[in-house]
Amino acid sequence: MLASTETQGAVRYRSQRIAYWFFAACMLLFSLQLVYGFILGFARMGMDGLHEWIPFHVARATHTNLLVVWLLTGFMGSAYYIIPEESERELWSPKLAIVQLITLLLVGVAAIVGYHLNWWEGRKFLEIPRELDWLVVVNVLAFLLNIFMTIWKGKRKTTTAMVLFFGLLMSALLYLPGMISFKNLTFDSFFRWWVVHLWVEGVWELIMGAILSFLLIKLTGVDREVIEKWLYVIVGFTFLSGILGTGHHYYFTGTPHYWLMVGGVFSALEPLAFLGMAMYALTMARRGGRKTTNRIALLWTLGCAVMSFVGAGFLGFAHTLPQVNLWTHGTLITAMHGHMAFWGAYAMIVLAMISYAMPELTGRAMYKSWMAEWAFWATNVGMIGMTGAFAVMGIAQVYMERKAGMDFLEVQESLQVHAFGLVLAASLLTLGVALFIKNFLDYGFPQEVPTGGPAGAKLDPRPADRRKDH
């Protein structure tokens, strides 16, 4: 449908350019996340010279929270890019979007500085102090209002836009259970997973699926109806397995025994959703008649679908059954799964979106640079290496500490050599990220777009011979 609007060209609506600033913030926060990752990696090697100033738990909270903030910033940027295009109108309030970005960053910086001063809640992944929680809520409400009004007043309401909005709305709602205070640790843990699990193995997959669907429509030229139909099937499988799959966090935290059965069965189905996602992306890319010139965006898109299956689906399944998890629960096996899952599913979808949007926003075809391609391979090979190092450490820890009953510290010290491998692989990943950021900077700032769109093909920045492709 509407073939002319689906073709690649310069960005069609002026307000889409706001996405650039969200993506730039992503690059900044991602870099900082890597710095803290190295502090953690070196500490695991036994080199904890920063212990007096940045002890492990500070670096860890900063590392994981920066990840969450940059991914959310990336989702917001993606939404500000996608929603005007899908709704065929300018953003409801571009000013609100800018205010929202600045305040989000201020809250993020305040939280991170707070962690270094022992100001936090001390609940894994939800360390943000309660006072700042409220600011996050206000900020996200402003974002949702902007997106909602744009869709509401838009010319069309596409499935992709609705799934994206539903995912974002549910993320906001599911943040609230994490803000309830409980005196009893078991209640606290129970509802903490409502946020953490139902985000990353539930509604975030909706956001990911919607962005994936948008990218596939743009990059492969397959009919929107076909892509969106399968989007429903995949997010259907996600919720079918993911909601009750929350049970895999309820095996050993004081919750009733039946969660071992419920969590085991349903989380064993979770890889199916990711397998579906990977097959969907690969099939659409093969079926698509159009060959995009932005090969790098397609590479990140397909890479995301495949790596999320490996990291989230396959490696998640590796320790999700209760009889396995009894031994692996609370070991570095979780770090193995967590790193590749977040990378494959969420970091890569944001990087795919950035790779797609930057040529459109700036009118420059920097994706042809060798840097763009090397960034993809260096980051992915680096992450595979890191996952391998965590796997070796995790498996050794399970057998030595849990199965044989060796002393914790003794085991950890024997793992230091593998932590060195981890840091080496992380260095390769960092090199790749540096290339990605250099490429991002080379694109420069977004170009001028006449207000009210559609700007049309006149602004297509690519040489005439490239434009013939579509």
Binding site: A43, G46, D48, P55, F56, H57, V58, R60, A61, Y115, N118, E121, G122, K124, T159, K183, N184, L185, T186, F187, S189, F190, E225, K229, Y232, V233, V235, G236, F237, F239, L240, I243, L244, T246, G247, Y250, Y251, F252, T253, G254, T255, P256, H257, V262, L326, H329, G330, T331, T334, A335, R402, K403, A404, G405, M406, D407, F408, L409, E410, Q412
Partner: protein
């Protein structure tokens, strides 16, 4: 005749209805599946919330336990440790720590974590447990709070987590003989046993002490316990604050082994 007629018309496969899933069917699958699983999840949640108070022995959750929980959260202890298997994987799992180490060991450890494991992985030395910073009374109360909290956690019904090790450790196995500990002074039972085993009972951080009197003489034992670092720099054995009488009682006990 009939055959001849048929030959003129090429054979055609019967037209099958399209097996393709329609978009609205896909949407129904998504909404229906989500609603169904959502309802099941809410029902299970309601049942779980009803069971959690008894499974976690909420009646034993004293003010002291709640204060300990507050200390735990306030200092982000799960940023390094795990509790019920949840946390940072950088420091030991603490679900059964009171059962494993005993309160006196934890009290001594919290006062000077690095002193217990010199030159090894570090833990922050928190002012709230340091008598010289907050006064002896407050430090003791804070320690009692966190220990009460950890003790309460250790009694939660966790469906068998953490599991007992199932693989035999290398080395000679000494049959458990709790009687050998009978003559041990209280300090030995509560602190030393955290790391050392006697008669197969106790920790495995340091060497088992069965037969130690045949290996080390009284003078050496006395000097060693009083200040391990002085005899063997870099040893994991901490210098523990104890009075002469306690030291005497420990050395006397070790001589019987």
């Amino acid at each position: 005749m009939g055959l001849g007629n048929g030959a003129q018309r090429p054979f055609q496969l019967p037209q099958l209805p399209p097996l393709m899933l329609t978009k609205s069917a896909a949407k129904t699958f998504f909404l229906g599946g989500t609603a169904l699983c959502g309802v099941a999840f809410v029902l299970l949640t309601m049942d779980t919330l009803a069971q959690l108070p008894s499974r976690s022995h909420q009646e034993a959750m004293t003010d002291q336990v709640v204060r300990g929980h507050h200390i735990w959260n306030k200092n982000n202890c799960m940023g390094c440790h795990t509790l019920l298997g949840e946390g940072g994987y950088y420091a030991p799992e603490l679900t059964k720590v009171v059962e494993r180490r005993g309160a006196p060991w934890i009290e001594a450890f919290l006062e000077d974590p690095e002193g217990f494991f010199p030159g090894r992985r570090k833990m922050v030395k928190y002012a709230i447990f340091d008598p010289s910073k907050v006064g002896a009374e407050t430090a003791a109360a804070n320690k009692a709070d966190i220990i009460a909290f950890l003790d309460w956690v250790g009694k939660i019904d966790t469906n068998g987590f953490p599991a007992k090790p199932t693989m035999n450790q290398a080395g000679p196995q000494i049959p458990a003989d709790a009687q050998r500990l009978e003559g041990a002074p209280p300090f030995f039972r509560s602190v030393c046993s955290g790391c050392h085993a006697v008669g197969g009972v106790g920790g495995n951080v340091g060497p088992a002490l069965d037969g130690v009197s045949t290996r080390l003489d009284e003078v050496y034992l006395r000097r060693w316990i009083a200040n391990p670092q002085a005899l063997k720099p870099g040893t994991a054995m901490p210098k523990l604050a104890m009075d002469e009488a306690t030291l005497d009682s420990i050395v006397t006990f070790l001589r019987t082994l």
